[in-house]
Symmetry: none
Subunit: 68 residues, 2 copies
DNA sequence: ATTAAATAGGGTAATTCGGGCG
DNA sequence: GATGTCCGAATTACCCTATTTA
């Protein structure tokens, strides 16, 4: 089976930033640090996988308060 | 002589744009800049090779026969 | 042949990149 | 160590109309 890199919905830096309530620059730093995988346009701009972002948003390691 | 027995799937500008999450015009700019090879219809519209687009999407380097 | 959608052009805002600073 | 901001340069997005495609 081939990789289905096409069917994956991609998000722009500003979109991810809005979802996390952070500056787009911060998202860029996460990508640099390898905390978030990114796809590059031919011009060098980053795109992020929606599924990964959503996974991080939903299933984030809770602040050790309650996980249910 | 290499026979093109394998049908090379061609993609429209909007299809490529969707894959990269960019505007179709941006794909056109990539073609103009030589970052992406394009095939022209008789009316002047551009078509792109799926194999090349996939290669670029996966972040693989230039079309190299040998990947050291 | 006619309609509707997509693309090619060109021009101008808006994002993003990268580095460095606080 | 992590985030936000300022800067300049580069890339991308949106506006229009005419032509091509389906």
């Amino acid at each position: 089976m081939a990789l289905q890199s096409e069917s994956e919905t991609l998000l722009t830096p500003s979109e991810v930033a809005s979802m996390f309530r952070v500056d787009p620059k911060t998202v860029t730093r996460w990508a640099k640090a390898g905390k978030l995988s990114s796809i590059r346009t031919l011009g060098g701009h980053r795109r992020y996988r929606e599924s990964e972002v959503r996974r991080l948003l939903d299933g984030l390691p809770s602040p050790r308060v309650q996980t249910s």
